[in-house]
Each structure stands twice: as structure tokens, then as C-alpha cells.
Amino acid sequence: MSLRMRLVVLAALVMTVSLGLVGAALDAAFYRSSVAALNSRMESTAYLVLAATEIDDDGSLRLDKELGDPRLGQPGSGLYAHVHGRRDHWYSPSSLNQDLPELPPVRPGESVFLQPGAGRDYFIFCYGVAWELANGSRLPITVSIFVDPKELRKEVSAFRAGLGTSLGAAGVILLLAQLLFLTLGMRPLRRLTRDVAGVESGRTQRLEGQYPRELEPLTRNLNRLLETEKTNQTRYRNALDSLAHSLKTPLSVIRSSMPADTAAKSSAIENAVTDMQRLIATRLQRAAASARSSMAPAVDVGRQAERLIQSLGRVYSHKMIDIDANMDPGLAFYGEQRDLLELLGNLLDNACKYGHGKVRLRAGPLVADKPRAGIRLSVEDNGPGIAPDARRTLLKRGVRGDERVDGHGLGLAIVLEIVSAYNGEIEIDEGDLGGARVSVVLRTQ
């Protein structure tokens, strides 16, 4: 799951739970306060009823018609009253057709408040009083008020609906706000991603931006890694180069010091020197291959081919050579520039040397819409070509001096090393121009 998704889901969860708890608390509080208010109102109604009560001298109940609360006079109003004397009962007119429960009398001075529940369909408030009769005796009376919970329930529902709407709206707003904060908060991460892509593509050499403190260890380490890799590569290359240099000069001295008359011995030395030269060139390539950077910037193949063609033009100015470069425009090679130049240089040089004045270079991506996958290229000339047997020998890596086909040998040996380093393929056949054609595939991913 993506980081963003994760954060959004967690936030939504936390918010739902919090808002839910808040809602539940509010709901409970409202209910309690509603019930408490009802309780008070029922108490007031009880006093009203009491005020309207008259007791005759013989103890019988009589109530005024005017009860103060019109609802007590309306049947089915939801508000019912009952007065219980010694022997008689009085029911409010509203209690017509109501099945009001029978309750035990309440002792004078005490009150009872009951909520609807098991077997009870009403809120009930009972109040006990002692009525002083004319003859001095006390008559216990209980006033009971009944309220249909329907009305309270409607209020609570209305409240709940309102609460639900408000909390829902609040939830949506909070969620949107959270998404906004996430977007803003994740910006440094997105910037980091962009900068890393910049390093990968070669636009920059290190991560240059300003990052928040939490990302600093990451960017610092990444930069250090990039630098170390570059330094190591340079160091390694320099070591190899100085090794090669220090070997080649003494070899030159040997070569140039050899007498011109070719005795059998000096021919053996000749071959040995040539082999040493070839080994240095090819082994060097192979070793340098292992020092390749994984984050190579894109190389403009057209531009590098242009450089080579111009250079070859200078070297072969005495020969009229027409080099036709037919390349996909904007073709990029995601490997080392040095390797591309070496491979193309050797192939083109051979074509110029052994062709009869016409060379054609073709290059394109390995996979049409995946530029990083690699490139394929071919170099052909109009020379005598290479015989099929010779082709096999040439394509064998590590061919010894005496088996080597003169001339093509060293150049192709180096090309082989590079092709191998890039997990590629190479093929020699006859081209359209009539001479040799060397086709190469280089993989960079």
C-alpha cells in the first residue's frame, strides 16, 4: 500500500473513531438532560394537579375542571394524571382509553421517577402527599403523572439526525484538510524523488535540494554513496591506466629496438609483443567493465558518432571515404561514453581500413519505447568482407596471436570485450554494401 494511502486510511480511521465517540457522548448527554428536563416538567405537572385537587370532608376526591395544562384534558395527548386517594381514583380526561399501569402508593414526601422499561410503556412520576382533613386526620394521596415517551423519542431522534449531519460534515471537512496537509507534508518526499531521478538521468551529480531534518540522514548518505562510487571508479581507472601506461612504453622500446632484419627469434618476440599489446587492451576493457557506474547519464549517440566520423575523416584524409550515419534521432545510450566510443571507433576504423570507400552506420534503440533497455547498431562497408570461417575465429574471445586474423583482430577483440560487458550480442555477416557487416546489441538494463 502506498505511503499516502496508508496515511489517509489511518487518518480516516482515527477520525471516524473520535467523531463516533464524541457523537455517542453528546447523544447520551442529550438524552440524560432531556430526561432530566422531563422529570422536572412532570414534577411541575404533579404540583398543578395537586393544586387542582380538593378533598371533601368525607375524604373523597374532587378535581377542578381547569387543570392548568390543556393536554390533561385531551384524550391521547401523551400526558396523563392519576390521583389515588383512600378509596377512590381520579384519572385525567386525557387518560381515556389508555392502559395506565397500577402503582403502589408512595409515602408522603417521597417521589419516584420511573423510565420506560420492562413492562412499562411510560415515563412515570409519582409524588406522595398527606392531606390534612378537617377532623385532623391525615389522608395519604399519591399523584402519578404518566408521559408517553413518543415525544421525547422524537426529540432525541431529531437531535441525533442533526448531530449526525454536523459530525458528518465535520468529518468530511477534516478529511479534506488532512488530504491537503498530507499533500503539503509529502512535498519534500516528492522533491526527493524528483532529485533522485535527476541523478539517475545524469542531470545532476548529487542531491542538491533543501530537505527537512528527518530526510537529511538519507540524502547525506546517498550523496556520500554517489561520491564514493565516483571516486572509486576514478581511482580504479587511474590505477588501470597507469598500469597500462607503464607497460606500454617499455613494450614500445622493445619494439623499436628490435633490429630490422627479421630472424626467427625476433619474429617470436614480435608476436609476444603483439600479444602483450592485445592482452593489455582487452583485459583492460574487461576490468574497466566491472567498474561501471550503475547511474550512468544518457550519452547522445548521434553526437559521439559525429565526433568519431570527423576524427576518422582526419586520419583517413588520403582516402576518399563516405561514411553514412543513419541513426534514430535523439538516440541515447545509458552506458559509459568511453565504451560507446571504443566500440564504434574500432568498428568504424576497421570499415574505413578494409572497405573501399563506403561505410554505413545504423543505430537504434533495442526496445522501441524503452530507451534504457539498450541499443542495437551495425557497421558495414563495401570491402571484400570476411569469410565465414574467419568470422568464427574472430568472434572467439581470447584468440591467441597466431590464430588471429591480421588487422581486424585487435579491434574486434576489444569490441567483443565491450559486448560481453554489456550482456550483448554480436554478429558478422554480409551487408547491403557488399562487404562485411558487424551488428551489435548492447544491453543497459
Partner: protein, 227 residues
């Protein structure tokens, strides 16, 4: 022809200079880039051989500076760096050819000869001039079918004149291009060589290809055009 060799490895320097001198070239040597640049600016050179790995100033830098100072003689790079990246950089800096170490002395001589010929406008190793046919590679001179036997210095004078046909060549030009720095030069010797050369290539005195321009120098004229 006069060649500057800039190579810091003493053994190689000595050995190469000897090979080139044997082939008839006047060779000035230097072991570092700064001195090499000075020589290139001061001496009238026909070609320079420059090793890329020099102390002081890198070979590439030396070449760039040469070209910046309008020194147009051909430059051959010697390099242990055989990678194309380096060859291309060298050629882009202004060199005309490269030779990677280790190399055949024969290869060096052939490349040097080719570069000098090309600079003079010749693409072939054999120059035809009037009735004369000169093979620059083997340094053989023919008049028609007959081969003419010239000494080293006689040939050098003839070759230099052939590279600058129909041009006025002063005695100083000749002595500076035929001798290294610090050699014992005597302008009278040049006169002697020219005289001997004339007698050998034109024994009957009918063609007079080498014209003396009093007070100015010599000029090699095409005999066929003259008549």
C-alpha cells in the same frame, strides 16, 4: 624535413630519434610539454610527434596551444592510451594522426612520411614532377627510366624543393629544415649540395629545373612548362 619529438621516456626518445634520423629527418627532441611548446614556436618544423602523457603540460594542452598560435604543421600523437575516447580528444585538439604504443618503427616512419606528403598536398608516395619521379617512401629518384643516385643531403634538398615547387626557398629555409638545432650549419654547404644536385639531375644542363634567384634563394621550376 625537420621533426620535433616530444617524448618524456628517455629510452624511447633516444630510440625514436635514431630511427627518424636514419630515415633522413632532422630531429629536435624535448622531454616535457613546456619546452616542447617553446621549440614548436621557435623552430621551423615540418612535423611534430607528441606523446600525450607529458610532465609539465599535457600533450593535449600542448597541441591546443600550438594550434592557437597558428602553428600548422602536422601533428602525430604518440599515446599509450589506446582508447578511442582519447584518440578523438587528441584529434579534436588539433592532431592529424595518432599512433598507439607499442608500435612498429616502420609504422611510425610510414605515418610520418604520409603526414608530411599530405601537408604538401600529395596523397601518393610518389611525386611526379616533370620528367622526375620521386618515391618519397623509398627515397628513390628517377628521371624517366633512369634512376639517379643521390646522397642523403642531396636527396633532402631535392625533397624539400619538391614540397615547395615553384616557390622561393631561401638558403636559411633549407638549412633550418634540413638540420636540427645546435648543428653545425654552414650556408656554403647548402650551395655545394644544390650544385651537386643540379649536376646529378640535369647532367646535360638542358632543363635547369633549379633556378638561382640572386640574393633570394632557389626555385624549383617544372622543366616541361619552362620550354
Amino acid at each position: 624535413m625537420r621533426i620535433l619529438l616530444v617524448e618524456d621516456d628517455q629510452d624511447l626518445q633516444t630510440s625514436l630519434a635514431e630511427i627518424l634520423r636514419d630515415a633522413g629527418y632532422a630531429v629536435d627532441v624535448s622531454g616535457d610539454g613546456v619546452e616542447g611548446l617553446f621549440f614548436a614556436e621557435e623552430y621551423p618544423l615540418d612535423l611534430a610527434i607528441i606523446d600525450l602523457g607529458l610532465p609539465g603540460m599535457s600533450g593535449l594542452e600542448l597541441i591546443r596551444k600550438l594550434r592557437a598560435k597558428e602553428r600548422r604543421f602536422p601533428v602525430l600523437i604518440l599515446t599509450a592510451r589506446s582508447e578511442w575516447q582519447d584518440k578523438v580528444e587528441g584529434l579534436e585538439a588539433g592532431a592529424d594522426d595518432y599512433l598507439t604504443k607499442p608500435f612498429h618503427p616502420e609504422e611510425l616512419k610510414a605515418r610520418v612520411g604520409a603526414l608530411i606528403r599530405r601537408a604538401a598536398g600529395h596523397t601518393q608516395a610518389v611525386i611526379e614532377f616533370g620528367p622526375f619521379s620521386v618515391d618519397l617512401a623509398s627515397q628513390r629518384v628517377r628521371r624517366g627510366e633512369e634512376e639517379i643516385d643521390l646522397t642523403t643531403y642531396e636527396y633532402k634538398v631535392f625533397e624539400y624543393l619538391l614540397m615547395h615547387p615553384e616557390e622561393v626557398v631561401t638558403k636559411t629555409d633549407l638549412s633550418e629544415h634540413l638540420y636540427e638545432e645546435d648543428s653545425d650549419r654552414d650556408s656554403n654547404v647548402i650551395e655545394v649540395f644544390v650544385g651537386r644536385l643540379r649536376r646529378k639531375i640535369d647532367p646535360r644542363g638542358k632543363m635547369n629545373p633549379i633556378e638561382t634567384l640572386r640574393g633570394r634563394g632557389y626555385r624549383l621550376n617544372n622543366p616541361q612548362r619552362a620550354s
